[in-house]
Symmetry: C2
Amino acid sequence: MLSFLGFVPYFCAMIRVIILGAGNVASHLYRILHQQTNVEIVQCYNRRNVLLDPMQSKATITNTYKQIKEADVYILAVSDDAISEVSGLLPFTDKLVVHTSGSAPITSISEQQRRGVFYPLQTFSKEKAVNFKKVPFCIEAEQESDFKLLWNMAASVSEKVYKISSLQRSILHVSAVFVNNFTNHLFTIGKDICDTHEVPFEILHPLIQETARKITEINPDQAQTGPAMRNDIQTISRHMDTLEDPTYRSIYQLLTQAIQIQHGKKL
Amino acid sequence: MLSFLGFVPYFCAMIRVIILGAGNVASHLYRILHQQTNVEIVQCYNRRNVLLDPMQSKATITNTYKQIKEADVYILAVSDDAISEVSGLLPFTDKLVVHTSGSAPITSISEQQRRGVFYPLQTFSKEKAVNFKKVPFCIEAEQESDFKLLWNMAASVSEKVYKISSLQRSILHVSAVFVNNFTNHLFTIGKDICDTHEVPFEILHPLIQETARKITEINPDQAQTGPAMRNDIQTISRHMDTLEDPTYRSIYQLLTQAIQIQHGKKL
């Protein structure tokens, strides 16, 4: 009769989770994991004893290591620097303890535990909801059975789960700094230039969206355009005259050079 | 009886257009303007006598200035450097002649003509179709009636038409170099780093999309994250160790510094 109610997974063991940390990643993971029928968030630990979500029960929060309960997986959603310390202070051994960091190696977790990584590769802001279905999860574990548990948990949240080693993850992280952090700073500069001259920055929004969309269809190398690519010296010099901020000038010069080196133009 | 056939615009003066040039902008403008019921592309001029679209009739192409026909507007979709020369060689005076450049001033067109600008602010690749409805058009003209004609033509193609002066346009163009050209180069670097270490770059696609999408909702300044923003010296130094290419290292250092200056971190 149950089958009439819809999809009933064969193996549906509840995964008991404890989240440690109170930052953006902790909050977003809390919200999405809380919605999963195969996940139970047993408890959350953070020093300040704060709720990760306004709907969370106060009884499930602790700021005392000794009070941390039994669970299948302990998710350390803490800063990279704190992974070693927090995992070392856990009042038990031989449990599955994972971090959520893009750059810390799996070995930054205390070797007293069964170690793993549960890294959602996305940029999280406190205020903005995230569509987790499209967020790639990079999974790593020392033991095969732990890997399967993490894979199941990730796959219940996202369509994109990858087995990624610590070395590969560190490469992804460096790359992400270029395509996300640095790119966002270029957006900040673009907006500042517009604001300073009272031009609405929103005129550039469609260009920005298209720049990002394009590379899912063609190689970014092939998508390169602009005065640096064309070696359009007149325009480059006019732009340099417009820029007053010395940092903006340095960035303009360096990236123009980099594009020209990449595309074999004369400097 | 005609009204039964659908929407019949009240005022529907046909705008007769001649496109000069054979690059990406010329081809894309040809295709979109050709679809408009209020636009007739009378002729196209380019030195190599090439079609702008495989469907175009050969009879509408010329490479001889003297054969250029009568039209309401002449669109110079040529390189910035060629605007002055091509507009100076036109075998008539006092016609509406516009360029499509983001950076050239309106005065780069020969003063023998009624000058204007018809600038679609988007990145065009030969191979990729463009959704013109979302492309902002920046319009400028010396005469009010010319401005109206350009506005009508732009508004038939796009939902976003802006009156933008040459000064404002030059600011937009500098800004666009940062948010489009330089950003695309950062994507190229990110892909190269992944390729070198055999990590699939596609894992970063959702992050790139989200980075671009985010700034339409929050200020890019507020969206800044990453090791530079957190002044996470350990991660920054690990990333620098990973990067071998001297240009990538310089870019990493300069943009890290720029983010820290922007956000008042200690260097």
